[in-house]
Subunit: 387 residues, 2 copies
Amino acid sequence: MTLSGLSQGIGERIIPLSFGHPDPEMLPTRELREATLRVLDGPRAGLALQYGAEQGTQSLIEVLVEKVRREHGLELTAAQLMIVAGSTHAVDMLARLYARPGGVVLVEMPTYMDTLHVLRDQQLELCSVPMDEDGLLPAALEEQIEQLYARGTFPSLLYSIPTFHNPTGRTLSQTRRLEVIELARRYNFWIVEDDVYRDLAFVETVPPSFAALTGGERVLSIGSFSKTLAPGLRLGWLVAPAQEIQRCMACGTTQMSGGANPLVAHMVAEYCKSGAWEPHIHLLRSRYQMRRDVALAALTSFMPAEITWTHPQGGFFIWLSLPEYIQAQEIRQLALQRGVALTAGEGFFVEAARGAHHLRLTYSCATPQEIETGLRILAQLLRELLH
Amino acid sequence: MTLSGLSQGIGERIIPLSFGHPDPEMLPTRELREATLRVLDGPRAGLALQYGAEQGTQSLIEVLVEKVRREHGLELTAAQLMIVAGSTHAVDMLARLYARPGGVVLVEMPTYMDTLHVLRDQQLELCSVPMDEDGLLPAALEEQIEQLYARGTFPSLLYSIPTFHNPTGRTLSQTRRLEVIELARRYNFWIVEDDVYRDLAFVETVPPSFAALTGGERVLSIGSFSKTLAPGLRLGWLVAPAQEIQRCMACGTTQMSGGANPLVAHMVAEYCKSGAWEPHIHLLRSRYQMRRDVALAALTSFMPAEITWTHPQGGFFIWLSLPEYIQAQEIRQLALQRGVALTAGEGFFVEAARGAHHLRLTYSCATPQEIETGLRILAQLLRELLH
């Protein structure tokens, strides 16, 4: 999440294909300004500036319950949703409450690097589950769990990014989602569904969320305003069975701080109630889809045959696989010297070495022209190193 | 931190002597509105809405460095201060980074109940240090540490609220602060200084902070905007040696979320730079001092001789001690039936039973009239139960 590489060029800026930041041009500043005035000039200004109820700002909970009902087809009540201070807060809190230090958490291989960091900070053991083009492999998941059971260890959580996965851009198929749910029931673990890219779909149909497929049972599902509104708000939500929401409300950090970011939550509730969010999401989808198209076309045009990549149907990321004699870290450094920032694969794996021949590209915050230029430079670089 | 009891009365509201919430009447809504417009209409709107640098918003860091230099007489640089999402974030992060699960944290007896909760959630063992009117007892602290050493346990942190302590309102004397620092050096532990009430002094001179007394060494000192500006902002700061700030910036949750609450931090920086914060703090001091005076006068007038209480020189809290045959929980319930919300002492102790004959009163969010009425009702209730 460091900002270096985003704008450090002197004269010309470094082309930012590294971090999954939303395009700064697409932040709805004016509408958020109007929403803020409605909060601070209105009767709830005092409430917005005071400690909030543990579950979060009621008006925002209502907006989100309505959204999840409509879009997930999930019949949830307000008791099944909680406001969180971004997905970081949710991941951290769920790991704390549902896994014990020294316990095991199952993760996809690869997975979001900062989640690995948070889980490691909590002294959790991490166990990776391989994936292919259709997402994590349920048979491999079962095999991992059986191995853990054989040594007397019972994993309590599976952390999954099923839709437009970070770093690969892949989406877990519906069939596999159902198989994973079946395993969660059989082996008694919770599915932590990090679904923060779901709203940024470039296709009509996306597989139902884990939460929708189980009716909410066995799933702790995380949403975020960071990708579809603005990361600087630090705001998201958690959908879970009512009893689990109660457990999260009773967590020490929730008790100490009150509800998540009350002022900002009131602002965002006003923004959403104005009806501005959905058209904004539609705009983002078409804008990011266009950039994804530019990126895939550039890869097809420029890349040597030895390089392969994923074809995301939404979200921010493309995952490149290099021949085994090429080191991603070396490419990353050389690309940076030529003005292109990329992320090497190591950080996304529990065993870093597995990522040594992968690169993550993001098309979220570079212009189409920059994406094309950046990928041409990368392709040229790779060609120079190919045998 | 629950809001129940704050305004649940039908017709007449429950008198809120329970939670340490700032007076809603004293939230500087208008000035924060102006500051928000300066951010969202200005050239840094995009920056405020984007992920922020891990250390926090630079303009706010500058404001706070200047404040700490001026008020603490501590020659710190910008590298020694970090923005946090309220003191909750800081306490949680420091416990995570500086104590290991199963490790021991030293706390005052009594101490802030929500901190106990956060530390317990992190699987830390808690060891209490007795206090008297001048704050924690260094000799007792040393004795506790020696006992821990004797069983091969080395506490890594002392969590202290040295100034206008929660729940007692007491202030640790300068002599004792120096003795505690000497122990921290000898026994190699960090002092986590929760100094969120410091700005609300009713006297000219307050003992220097632990951070000021050591020049920053061995101290992780927490400040907050919750008591002097607005809790709904979720914003505070951490002063620590530069190397420890680096360690906090490398924490998983910091890496995942970026800097603490960027939008709100930009707003508050604008607010502070307008020069509005200091006069606002002066206003708060005189207002809270007046209420403290009303509370102490009412206690003197109404309370039976068997009841004793503390005399805070700042902050929000008064601590009542009852005869041993009177149960604070019973008083709390009876008082609530008569329309007065109080907090019983148990939650503030590692061993809850030690708080069974104590009550915490806050004068921060009730009107002077309510404070007087509430304490008259409480005194009457106690008189009925006295032998």
